[in-house]
C-alpha cells in the first residue's frame, strides 16, 4: 500500500529545518543523548510529552535560584520580580496564539484543566436541560468526559460528529447536527490518536452562524503549527506546556474576554477575589478570577521560555520539517507488508498510528524499547477512536522537530524485528 503523502507539499515549500540546524537543535536537548537499553534513545512519543531544551531548563534553574517568591502579594523585591516574570510569560502566551489581550490568557495545569474550567465556568452557567453539546469522534477523553459530566448534571445531550475510515470528520453530518438546542461545540484542533488536522476555522465559522460558541482543544496543534486564535475566531483555545518543550503542570486557556467576564469562577480562593467578607465575595477581574491560589509560577515562566525557544526556530519551519518527517515515515511504514496505518487523513500532524498484523501493540512497544525506541502503545485516551477502528489499542509514533529520518529508519527496522519474532 502506498499512501499519498502530501503533508510536505501542503506546507507550500516553506523553509524547513536543514541538516546543520538539526544537529544544533538536537544538541539543545540533553535527554536526546541518553542511552536506553544500551542504545541511543529514539524518542517518538512527542504527542504524549515533548522533551525540554537546555534554555528552558536553565530558565527554571535561574528562576528557582534567583527569582522565586509568591506573586501578586508582597512589595518586596523578589515578589515583584516573580510577578513581573509571571505576567511577562502570560504576554508571551498571548502573542504565541495571537490573542488580542493578555487578560484573555488564563494559566491552567494543562489542557485538561482548561477544558474543565470552561465546562464549569461556562457550561454550568449557560447549558441546561435538553441543550445539546457537539463533540467529535476524534476527541481525547479530556474533551469528552467533562462534557459528559455536565450533560449528566444538567440533563443536556451530547451529539457526536462522525468520521470516515481515514479519520476525517464528516462535515455534512457536522452541519446537520446543529439545531436550536445546540449550545456548545467542543472540538479538537488536531487528533492525538490519528494526527488528523480538522478544518477548525470553517467549523468555528459554521457554529458561529448558529450562535454556538466553540472550544478548540489545541494540545496537539500548538506545538506543531502557528496558532492564531483571532483568525480561527474560536471562543476558547486550550493547550499544554509539556507538549511544547515546557514543563508539566502548566497550560493555558485562551478565552474571548467578553465570555470570560460573564463566566463563573472555576475555583475559589486567594488571588481570585477583590474583597471577601463572610457575607459576600467580590471576584477579581479576568484573568485573576480564574487563577485561585498560588499558581505554578516557575512552570509558567518556563513555558514562556519554551515559547521563546520555539519562536527562535519558527513554527512555520517546525511545521514544514515535521511534515517531511511524517511523509517519510508514512512512506516507509506503509511499504511494510502486514502493517496497517490507522488514520490516513489528507491533512495530518506528525502522528503515525499503526498496527502490526497479529501482534498486540503492547508487545510492539516492549520490543521497540529494547532498541531504545520510545513509542506510545495503548488507546491514547481516545477509546471511541479505537472502537471505531475495532482495535483495543494502536502503536503510535509521534514526531517533533528534533527527530530525524535516521530515527524513522530505526523505527522501521524495529517493526521488522517485531514481525520476525512473531512470524
Amino acid at each position: 500500500m502506498k499512501l499519498e503523502t502530501m503533508n510536505a507539499e501542503a506546507t507550500g515549500g516553506r523553509s524547513s529545518i536543514e541538516r546543520t540546524d538539526l544537529d544544533k537543535i538536537r544538541a539543545d536537548f540533553p535527554i536526546l543523548g541518553l542511552q536506553v537499553s544500551g542504545k541511543p534513545l529514539v524518542y517518538l512519543d512527542n504527542a504524549a510529552s515533548s522533551q525540554m531544551p537546555q534554555p528552558v531548563i536553565d530558565r527554571i534553574v535561574r528562576y528557582q535560584s534567583q527569582e522565586h517568591a509568591n506573586i501578586h502579594r508582597a512589595v518586596h523585591y523578589l515578589s515583584e520580580l516573580a510577578t513581573r516574570e509571571y505576567e511577562e510569560a502570560r504576554v508571551k502566551v498571548q502573542h504565541f496564539v495571537n490573542a488580542k489581550e493578555s487578560r484573555e490568557i488564563i494559566f491552567t495545569r494543562g489542557t485538561t484543566e482548561a477544558i474543565n474550567l470552561v465546562m464549569h465556568g461556562y457550561g454550568r452557567a449557560f447549558i441546561g436541560k435538553g441543550d445539546e453539546i457537539i463533540l467529535s469522534a476524534l476527541e481525547h477523553h479530556a474533551n469528552i468526559v467533562p462534557w459528559q459530566m455536565l450533560a449528566r448534571e444538567k440533563g443536556a445531550v451530547l451529539r457526536v460528529i462522525p468520521m470516515d475510515d481515514a479519520g476525517e470528520l464528516l462535515i455534512d453530518e457536522f452541519e446537520a447536527l446543529f439545531n436550536a438546542k445546540t449550545k456548545f461545540l467542543a472540538l479538537t484542533h488536531v487528533s492525538n490518536a490519528l494526527g488528523t488536522v480538522n478544518p477548525v476555522k470553517a467549523m468555528v465559522a459554521f457554529a458561529h452562524r448558529h450562535g454556538v460558541p466553540v472550544l478548540l482543544d489545541g494540545a496537539q496543534a500548538a506545538p506543531h503549527q502557528a496558532v492564531d486564535v483571532q483568525d480561527l475566531d474560536c471562543d476558547f483555545y486550550a493547550f499544554s506546556g509539556h507538549k511544547m518543550c515546557g514543563p508539566t503542570g502548566i497550560g493555558a486557556l485562551y478565552g474571548k474576554a467578553k465570555l470570560l467576564e460573564k463566566m463563573q469562577p472555576y475555583q475559589g480562593g486567594g488571588d481570585m477575589i477583590l474583597s471577601v467578607t463572610f457575607e459576600k465575595t467580590i471576584y477579581n477581574v479576568i484573568p485573576s478570577k480564574f487563577e485561585a491560589g498560588t499558581p505554578p509560577i516557575m512552570a509558567a515562566i518556563a513555558l514562556g521560555a519554551a515559547i521563546d525557544y520555539l519562536n527562535g526556530i519558527g513554527l512555520a519551519r517546525i511545521q514544514a520539517y515535521e511534515a517531511t518527517l511524517l511523509d517519510y515515515a508514512t512512506e516507509q511504514v506503509s511499504a511494510l507488508s502486514g502493517v496497517r496505518i490507522i488514520g490516513t487523513a489528507r491533512k495530518k500532524a506528525a502522528v503515525l498510528s499503526f498496527e502490526i498484523k497479529g501482534v498486540h501493540p503492547h508487545d510492539v512497544g516492549t520490543i521497540l524499547n529494547e532498541d531504545g525506541i520510545a513509542i506510545r502503545t495503548g488507546h491514547h485516551c481516545a477509546q471511541p477512536v479505537m472502537q471505531f477502528y475495532g482495535v483495543p489499542a494502536t502503536a503510535r509514533a509521534s514526531f517533533a522537530f528534533y527527530n530525524t529520518k535516521a530515527e524513522i529508519d530505526k523505527l522501521v527496522a524495529g517493526i521488522r524485528k517485531v514481525q520476525g519474532m512473531f512470524s
Binding site: S37, V359, H360, P361, H362, D363, T366, I367, N369, E370, T377, G378, H379, M386, P392, A393, M421, F422
Partner: protein, 169 residues
Amino acid sequence: MSDMRQLYQEVILDHNRKPRNFGSVLGANRHAEGHNPLCGDHIKLSMNVLEDKIETIAFEGEGCAICKASASMMTGAVKGRSVRDAETLVEEFRGMATGTLDPDSAANHLGKLKVFAGVKDLPSRVKCAILPWHTLHAALNPVLSPGADTSISTEGAADPVPGSLIGEE
C-alpha cells in the same frame, strides 16, 4: 540474555499463536472477567469446579502475547488441580511477577510458568502477565462480588488485591 528476549521466548510466542483451552466451558459453574484498561487486555474465564477440583477450564478474550500466553499456560497448569493448589499457584505467580518470590531459590510449584519470571523487570507489563491469575482468583472466590459475575480490573495498580476493584462492564 536481555529481559525482553528472556520474556519473549518461543514457549510464550507459541502459546500466543496457539492458545490452549481457548473458548468457553459449557455449563460452567465459575466465571470471571478481567480487564486491563491500560492495553485493552480482556480475559473471560469459565470453569467447572466439582468437589473442590477444577475439572475443566477455558479462557477467551483479547490481549497481548504476555497476557494470552499467561492465560493459556495457566489453564494448563490448574486443570485437574484442587482449588487450594490453584490458589497456591496464583500466589506464587504473583510473587514471581512482582519480584517478591525468586522462583530459582524459593520452593514453588511454578514449573514451566517460570518463563514469565522476566516480566518483573518490565513494570508496565506485570499487569499483562498477572491479569489471568487475578481473574482465576476472582472466579474461585465468587463471594468477592456476590450476586454478580465477578469482574476485576488492573486499573491503577500493578498488582491489585483481587476483587477490590470492579471493572466496568
